[in-house]
């Protein structure tokens, strides 16, 4: 078992005063699967006029904050202590044939299990895309078991897509990423999800954090300095959801901390808001995920 201390700081400096700000935050790590939320604390500055929380449709913890007075800056600091149970990712079984799973997703209109079916349909940022489907399908020879097929796909994606920040933004479509063969974690996750769903395999989008390594450390992860994103794939009843990181070519072990699950980024946006005023604003984000001794 590993224990981590997460600190996620977001700071907005507004160019003009904001008179009213409404925000929804999906920052608190979920306590599901191998992950346990030991403690957490959310600090919002200025102190919101009202703050409440609820569980969304996907079971994620959402904070709803309203700042109903004039302010020039907003800062949000999330601190959490997480425990992750050990997992031997090398020994994940091969699972059933992938087309058996996709056949059960067909299920003559009634897929089984029904609750994973939601993640087999297209979603706003992971639309059907013939190029993504064709690309992903190369790793899914009929009759092959699902986990080796996924490992093959992760390996290919790591080689075929270049990790380049700044070439994509939140409006970038799967088709555009397929054309550029470049992007960031979010883009790779959307490509993989779109292709898998094209094969009628349920795939979820996961937002979360990665363990931080000191700069220039060998073995440090890509994308550890901010929120990260990866993909969770349904691998049948025995294995369940298997988290895969196409950015780092791996099956997720004990160095990924999941914050929220959804169909794509639009379901799990860490900080979404409507403000009155504000003008141009600047934004800084810092994430650290440090291992701590279990007590």
């Amino acid at each position: 078992m590993k224990r981590y201390q997460v600190r996620h700081e977001t700071h907005y400096q507004y160019g003009a005063a904001v008179d009213l700000g409404l925000h929804q935050l999906r920052l608190t790590p979920v306590g599901v699967g191998r992950q346990t939320l030991v403690a957490h604390d959310l600090q919002i500055t200025p102190q919101p006029s009202s703050l409440s929380s609820f569980q969304d449709h996907f079971g994620n913890e959402v904070h709803h904050a309203a700042i109903e007075f004039r302010h020039d800056a907003l800062s949000v600091v999330l601190q959490a202590t997480i425990e992750i149970a050990d997992a031997n990712v090398a020994s994940v079984p091969d699972g059933p044939a992938w087309d058996e799973i996709s056949g059960r997703m067909q299920g003559d209109g009634f897929p089984t299990p029904f609750e994973v079916a939601e993640f087999v349909y297209p979603s706003p940022l992971a639309q059907e895309d013939s190029a993504a489907l064709a690309y992903v399908a190369e790793s899914f020879v009929p009759g092959f078991t699902i986990v080796p097929a996924l490992r093959n796909l992760l390996n290919r994606m790591r080689n075929d897509f270049s990790y380049t920040s700044g070439v994509t933004d939140i409006t970038t479509t799967v088709a555009q990423v397929m054309e550029m063969r470049a992007g960031v974690c979010q883009d790779f996750a959307h490509v993989m999800i779109s292709g898998l769903r094209g094969l009628r395999l349920p795939a979820r989008y996961v937002s979360g954090y990665l363990r931080t390594y000191p700069p220039q450390t060998e073995g440090g992860w890509r994308g550890a300095d901010a929120s990260h994103a990866w993909v969770s794939v349904w691998c049948g009843d025995a294995i369940g959801w298997l988290d895969c990181d196409p950015t780092n070519n791996l099956v997720v072990g004990d160095e990924h901390i999941a914050v929220a699950y959804g169909r794509d980024f639009s379901d799990v946006t860490p900080l979404r808001g409507v403000i009155l005023g504000g003008g141009q604003h600047s934004l800084s984000v810092a994430v650290t995920v440090d291992p701590v001794q279990s007590s």
Partner: protein, 836 residues
């Protein structure tokens, strides 16, 4: 050919009893009278449509629907069956909605395919687990499009659960028929719609009582650009609730508030006519400027009730139809009494096989897009058919197959005499205290052929009122107006609440009416002279002056103003300007504002706005920079043709002013309208005096006379000076004479009075002082003696001051309503928060 049911005549060729009275009335009239009535009804409908449907929407064509004098008539006994069937469906659909947004056990247990929920654009995830407050249902208002099958039974073509239209139109059609076809109502036991409205208002109040003892209820509309805006205006008026757009509302501390001039007022119930996905940019579509950020949060906190709940459109997919009979057994323990037309969802093997095997037996519709016209495979080309079959193999779940029904026929009077037409009925039920009540009427559409296997109100049709003939005689209409026991709650209806946006709209409506009036006066003066042949030097000098004034007020472009009056292109430029910007912009703005505040304006006021807003002439097809040279002297004729319309604008603007003065209650809304008018009239007077007197013309007398003509003061002048000669000092009549309502100081004095009473407290003290100063300046200038220089200086200053005053009032009252200043992030901009 399938047998069809005839609404009017039985199989034995006998008139059905419930049609007898109406047809007797019809047959009692000559074809000429009938056609005259038919034309009158159409004119009533068109009068409203002209305001509702902007010309850019229709490309200048009139709307392609009409109203028919002959209603669809149903006997009470049949209506009861329909009402019971609708009630049962509404109950069932509300239970399904509760499950979809709650435990989802129907999906878990295989009663509803997950695809139909999870891939359904109507399924709004943020509404999951948001429980209704108190006893409020999720589905409050439900409508269905129905057709009658050959066996005489009705079936459902489409369930309407989003925010269905119907009752407002029904009221509208009923009032048109009451005026044009009173013979039809005479002695006929036609069930009235009014009782439903009363009940409806009561039911909204009782639902709101879960939040507040005196609940504030609003109708949320997307605004004047919505195709159903007429409905929203009529319903808000009838229900006595406030008509609001998203920008009228704000959320504080998880409560929804209405922004009024007196501050924020809590809203307890929102009768929603805005599509669910647009309701809240924070949680739903972030690009929506029509909703209210935080509305879903307020619902979640139990502080506001929204009816129907956003997300109710999930039920509109026709693919639910095959699953409803089982769901009725499961949830209600009974079968459906009002079934849907035979429908198959192609996402299952067996139905798909059936459809592929005998494609021509069905009409195909997309699973999730109810507004798309159905495909009739028998009308497809070979290639289209192959393409459809291919799509059905690849993505069968995207299709629904419906066995077309042969709808019943209803007599349609039309313009050529009675003919049978297939009919679709839109009928509605409303939730009331745990039960459902059917509205005894609706909207019937007599369609052409090929259009029937879908519902909807948008497509081409002849609309008909729906008469339910009661078994009992109906009380005469007059008794409705005098309720036996006056309900004090009714007296407290809330339409007098003035939202900040309404104040803004009325203020600008006042300004635009005056602006258009002065524009029309200037154009009329110029074109009247141009239309005359043989222009003498005096005419040319006057035209010169008028062009300076037109240009100064921005009505004509420089390119036209700089043409010499003798130029052949000049008249064409002036004529063209009446059909071009900014004159047309002014008319459009006026129409838009009038429409937005339709619920505050009387029918007569609305009619004058309709006239003022109707475009004059047509835009010249050639570029205005280079009008064809050969148009002169034809343009003298063009100019002459425009004159009656410009006269009409001036007269209607005067009528509008009269209605404002005589027919509007003195609410804050009236005051803002008046302030807008006074400010604009003041600015126009300054423009005219300034430009005419400052002109290089040496004909001072001409200038003064033109000022009087444009300011409608010639008669006053004659009476006062007993002469037809004009000199500069006489201009005090339009500058500083307090008794002339067309004079500058009169406008300032009115503004003084309005600012005094408007709020009666300090917020306006600065503005009041400013106007006081303006009045003093005018009087001082007069005392100093009138010269052209002093007049030009004075009007220049006054014009600037009036514009500043307008801005100050806008800042004070209207600034916080600008939705453009809100900005959604976390979608587009969150990218930078996600470095990886």
């Amino acid at each position: 050919m399938t047998e069809t049911y005839d609404e009017m005549v039985s199989g034995k060729g006998v008139l059905r009893p419930h049609w007898r009275q109406t047809m007797a009335a019809i047959w009692g009239m000559s074809p000429e009278i009938l056609q005259e009535k038919q034309a009158r009804a159409a004119a009533h409908l068109a009068e409203v449509d002209r305001l509702l449907i902007s010309e850019d929407q229709t490309g200048g064509n009139p709307p392609d629907w009409s109203i028919d004098l002959l209603p669809l008539i149903l006997p009470e006994s049949e209506w009861k069956i329909i009402a019971a069937g609708l009630t049962q469906r509404a109950q069932l659909l509300d239970l399904i909605l509760a499950d979809i947004y709650g435990p989802q056990s129907l999906i878990a247990e295989g009663a509803l395919p997950p695809y139909l929920i999870f891939n359904n654009p109507g399924f709004l995830r943020p509404l999951r687990h948001v429980a209704p407050v108190g006893a409020a249902p999720r589905l409050y208002f439900y409508a269905a499009d129905l057709v009658r099958m050959p066996d005489g039974k009705w079936c459902v073509l489409a369930d309407r659960t989003q925010a269905p239209a119907g009752v407002g139109y029904a009221l509208h059609h009923r009032s048109i028929l009451a005026r044009t076809f009173p013979e039809g109502f005479r002695n006929a036991p036609v069930r009235r719609l009014q009782s439903t409205i009363e009940l409806w208002h009561g039911s909204l109040r009782s639902i709101g009582a879960a939040i507040s003892g005196e609940p504030r209820i609003v109708l949320l509309t997307p605004g004047p650009h919505s195709s159903a805006y007429l409905e929203h205006v009529l319903l808000a008026q009838e229900l006595g609730i406030v008509l609001v757009q998203g920008s009228d509302l704000t959320v504080r501390q998880n409560h929804v508030y209405l922004k009024t001039l007196d501050g924020l007022e809590q809203v307890d119930v929102i009768y929603r006519r805005l599509d669910g996905e647009y309701c809240d940019p924070l949680e739903l579509r972030s690009d929506s400027a029509l909703g209210v950020a935080g509305m879903i949060g307020a619902m979640r906190a139990g502080n506001v009730i929204v009816l129907n709940v956003p997300g109710s459109a999930v039920l509109e997919t026709p693919a639910f139809a095959p699953f409803l009979p089982n769901l009725a057994q499961r949830l209600l323990g009974t079968g459906l009494t009002l079934p849907a037309a035979t429908t198959w969802w192609c996402g299952q093997r067996e139905p798909l096989a059936q459809v592929l095997q005998s494609l021509d037996r069905f009409h195909l519709r997309p699973t999730f897009d109810p507004d798309t016209a159905p495909i009739d495979p028998s009308h497809l080309s070979e290639a289209e058919r192959a393409n459809l079959l291919n799509r059905l193999q690849i993505a069968p779940e995207q299709y629904v197959a419906i066995e077309p029904v042969s709808p019943s026929l209803v007599p349609n009077l039309g313009t050529t005499g009675l003919e049978p037409r297939p009919v679709v009925l839109r009928a509605c039920v409303i939730w009331n205290e745990g039960a459902w009540v059917a509205v005894p009427g609706g909207v019937a559409r007599a369609t052409g052929s090929g259009e029937v296997s879908r519902g909807g109100l948008k497509y081409r049709a002849s609309v008909k009122d729906v008469w339910v003939m009661s078994d009992e005689p109906q009380a005469p209409a007059q008794s409705i107006a005098v309720p036996a026991a006056p309900d004090t709650r009714q007296l407290k209806r809330a339409t007098d609440v003035l939202g900040s946006r309404a104040a803004d709209d009325l203020f600008w409506l006042g300004r635009y009416v005056e602006r258009l009036d002065f524009g029309a006066r200037l154009f009329r003066a110029a074109l009247g002279r141009l239309a005359a042949s043989n222009l003498g030097p005096r005419d040319l000098a006057e035209i010169d002056l008028l062009v300076a004034a037109l240009s100064r007020s921005g009505w004509i472009p420089e390119s036209v103003a700089n043409l010499p009056a003798e130029s052949q292109m000049f008249p064409a430029g002036i004529v063209g300007a009446v059909a071009d910007r900014p004159f047309v912009d002014c008319q459009n703005a006026l129409r838009r504002l009038g429409l937005a505040q339709r619920d505050r304006l009387s029918k007569d006021m609305w009619r004058t706005i309709g006239y003022l807003g109707a475009h004059v002439g047509s835009k010249p097809s050639a570029s205005t920079d280079r009008p064809p040279v050969d148009r002169w002297p034809a343009d003298a004729g063009d100019a002459d043709k425009l004159l009656p319309r410009l006269d009409g604008i001036v007269t209607n603007a005067a009528t509008f002013g009269g209605l404002v003065a005589e027919n509007m209650t003195r609410t804050a809304g009236w005051r803002f309208l008046e302030i807008g008018r006074r400010i604009e009239r003041g600015i126009s007077i300054c423009n005219i005096v300034g430009s005419l007197i400052a002109s290089r013309s040496t004909w001072v007398e001409l200038s003064v006379r033109l000022v009087f003509e444009l300011c409608d003061s010639i008669i006053t002048h004659r009476k006062r000076y007993l002469t037809d000669s004009y000199s500069l000092p006489m201009l005090d009549l339009v500058v500083s004479d307090r008794t002339n309502p067309r004079g500058l100081i009169y406008q300032l004095a009115s503004l003084q009075a309005h600012l005094d009473t408007l709020v009666g407290q300090d917020p306006l003290a600065g503005e009041k002082q400013m106007v006081d100063g303006m009045v003093a300046a005018v009087l001082q200038a007069l005392a100093d003696g009138i010269s052209s220089e002093s007049l030009v200086t004075l009007t220049g200053i006054m014009r600037g001051d009036l514009m500043t005053l307008s801005e100050k009032i806008a800042q004070k009252f209207f600034t916080h309503i600008d939705p453009a200043r809100s900005f959604v992030f976390g979608t587009r901009n969150a990218q930078r928060a996600i470095a990886s």
